[in-house]
Amino acid sequence: MDEILEILEKDGRRSFEDIARMLKKKPAAVKAAVARYQKEGVILKYKAVINKELIRDAASQVRALIEVNITPQKDVGFDRVAERIYSFAEVSSCYLISGTYDLLLIVEGRDLQAVSRFVAEKLAPLENVKGTTTHFLLKKYKEDGVILKHKEENKRIAISY
C-alpha cells in the first residue's frame, strides 16, 4: 500500500505539507495523489473515530450485530437483496460472509425497541430473508484498529541515553 494511504489511514487530518515532508515529496504531488485516490474511490471519506461510551446521549444508542440468512436471486445473487437491506439508514455496516449465514449487519437504533422494531417490521418481512439472529452489543473495546480507552500514560523515563 502507498505510504500516503498508510499515513492517512492512521490520521486522516495529517496535512499535505506534513505528508510531503515525511515522504520527501512535494506537497503538490501528495495533493494530486490524494485527489486521485478520492476520484478512484480508494479514499471514500474522512471521519473522526468517536468513543461513544463517553457521550451521554450517544451512549444510550443501541447497536446490534444481526446475522441474516437470505435466498440468492437469479442473475444477481445476493447483491440485490443486500442492496435492499443496506439502503436502510439503520444499517451502518453490511457484509456478505461465508459460513452458516449470509449477511452480517451492524444496526444502530435509539433504543432496544427501535432495533427490535427494525428487525421485526423492516428486515424479517423482506421476501428473500429466511431468518435473522440479533446480538445486541454490550461494550466496544476496539474499533477499526483503535482501542477505545483513555489515553495511555507514557511509561518511558523522560530522558535516557
Partner: protein, 387 residues
C-alpha cells in the same frame, strides 16, 4: 566506606544535573529518550506472559536457552548469511550492554588501547577503563561523524588492541555502507586490531542495507558481534541481547557471564524467541514509521537553521546548534526552561561534540511537530544579535 580509585576516577556523567532537571519537570515534551516509543508488540508480550503461566521460572543454561540461540543462529543465517554455531558461538546477554562489558573484559589486558570513535554511546569508555584498558578517542566530528580509513590508519599507529564500532550510531545516526566497512576491515586486519561491533540499531537502517561487520571478508574470526532485541522489537526493558563470535572468545565471555549474571531472565528469553518467530512484520512497520519521522525532523531542523546531516539509521538526529551562539548544555537548559522541550546535549557523549544536541525522533509525529515548533520559537527569541 571508601570507593575504589578506579570507580572514583570513572568519568562522571557531566550532565547528571541536567537529567535530574528534566526528570523533575512535568509536562515536558521529551526528545531525549534513547528507546522506541512503541511498546513491545503484543504477541511478544503475550509469549512472555504465557511462559509465566506455564511455570517457566527457573534458570536457563548460562549461555541462554538453546531454543533462543538456535533462533538467533537461524536469523543470522537467513537475514545476513552469517553462520554461527548455536552451541559454541552465541551467548545470550543482558542487552548488548552486557555483551560490550564481557567482550572488553575478555579481550583487554591492562593498558591495552581501545579505539573509540566519538561521539559515541556513553558506556564504551568507562567499560574500557573498568577492564583496565586505555580508551583512545577518535574525534570524528570534522568528518561527518564517520570513522574514515585515513583516521583509522592514523590511530592504528598507536597499536591498539581493539576498535569499538557502533553503527548505525547513537547519538549521530551515522552508518556505513558495505564498501566503507570493507575499507575499515582491511585496515583492522592489516594491523591485527580486533573489532567489537555494536549493531543494536542494525535493523533500523534506512537508505541502504545494513552490513554486519562479520560478513566482510576475513572479518568473522576477528569480530565480536553484539546485537539484541531492544531497539528493533521495542524490547528495551526486557534486557535481552546476544554476542556472536569465535568459539574461544564466546566461551571466555561465558566464563565471566556465568559468575556475574548466571543467565538472562527466562521470561525475557521466552519472549525473545517469539520475537524471532513472528516479529518481522512489526519491525518493518516500525521502521517505515521511523523513516517518515526522520524525513520530517531533518527537513524541519535544517529549515530553522539548525544544520543537520541525514542520519542513515537509528532514531536520532544530531544537529549543530552553533548558529544559536549557545553552548550545548546552555541550549538544552534554556530550551527546557523556556519551552519545556528536552533534548540531550552533544557533550553528554563526548566533550568533542560541543555545539551539537541529540534529538530522538522516537516520538509521535504530533509530539515531534509540537516540539519542533517550540524549538523554532525558542530560536527566534534567542537569535544572536548581529554586530
Amino acid at each position: 566506606m571508601s570507593v575504589t580509585k578506579k570507580v572514583k576516577n570513572l568519568q562522571p556523567s557531566g550532565i547528571r544535573e541536567f537529567f535530574d532537571l528534566v526528570l523533575g519537570m512535568k509536562e515536558v515534551i521529551s526528545l531525549g529518550v534513547g528507546e522506541p516509543d512503541f511498546v513491545t508488540p503484543w504477541q511478544i508480550r503475550e509469549a512472555g506472559i504465557y511462559s509465566l503461566e506455564e511455570g517457566f521460572t527457573s534458570y536457563t543454561s548460562n549461555k541462554g536457552l538453546y531454543k533462543l540461540r538456535l533462533g538467533i543462529a537461524r536469523y543470522l543465517k537467513n537475514r545476513w548469511g552469517l553462520e554461527y554455531s548455536p552451541e559454541e558461538e552465541i551467548l545470550i546477554t543482558v542487552g548488548a550492554s552486557e555483551g560490550m562489558d564481557l567482550a572488553l573484559r575478555t579481550l583487554i589486558n591492562p593498558k591495552d588501547k581501545v579505539l573509540i570513535p566519538v561521539p559515541s554511546y556513553v558506556s564504551y569508555g568507562p567499560l574500557t577503563e573498568l577492564a583496565a584498558g586505555e580508551p583512545v578517542y577518535i574525534d570524528t566530528t570534522p568528518y561527518g561523524f564517520k570513522l574514515t580509513p585515513e583516521l583509522l590508519e592514523k590511530y592504528a599507529a598507536k597499536k591498539p588492541k581493539a576498535l569499538i564500532l557502533n553503527y548505525p550510531a547513537n547519538p549521530t545516526g551515522v552508518s556505513y555502507t558495505a564498501r566503507e566497512l570493507g575499507e575499515i576491515n582491511r585496515i583492522l586486519l592489516k594491523h591485527k586490531i580486533l573489532c567489537i561491533t555494536d549493531e543494536i540499531y542494525g535493523e533500523l537502517t534506512y537508505d541502504f542495507q545494513h552490513t554486519p561487520f562479520a560478513t566482510l571478508k576475513g572479518a568473522k574470526g576477528n569480530t565480536v558481534y553484539l546485537d539484541g532485541f531492544s531497539k528493533s522489537y521495542a524490547m528495551t526493558g526486557w534486557r535481552v541481547g546476544f554476542a556472536a563470535g569465535p568459539e574461544d572468545i564466546i566461551s571466555a565471555m561465558n566464563k565471566i557471564h556465568q559468575y556475574t549474571i548466571m543467565c538472562v531472565s527466562i521470561t525475557s528469553q521466552m519472549a525473545a524467541c517469539e520475537a524471532l518467530q513472528a516479529g518481522r512484520r512489526s519491525v518493518e512497520e516500525m521502521k517505515r514509521e521511523y523513516r517518515r519521522r526522520r524525513e520530517f525532523v531533518i527537513a524541519e531542523l535544517n529549515r530553522m537553521g539548525l544544520e543537520c546531516h541525514m542520519p542513515q539509521g537509528a532514531f536520532y538526529a544530531f544537529p549543530s546548534i552553533k548558529s544559536s551562539g549557545m553552548s550545548s548544555i546552555d541550549f538544552c537548559q534554556k530550551l527546557l526552561k523556556d519551552q519545556k522541550v528536552a533534548v540531550v546535549p552533544g557533550t553528554a557523549f563526548t566533550p568533542m561534540a560541543e555545539g551539537y544536541v541529540r534529538i530522538s525522533y522516537a516520538s509521535s509525529i504530533n509530539s515531534l511537530k509540537e516540539a519542533l515548533n517550540r524549538i523554532g520559537a525558542f530560536l527566534e527569541k534567542h537569535r544572536p544579535v548581529k554586530k
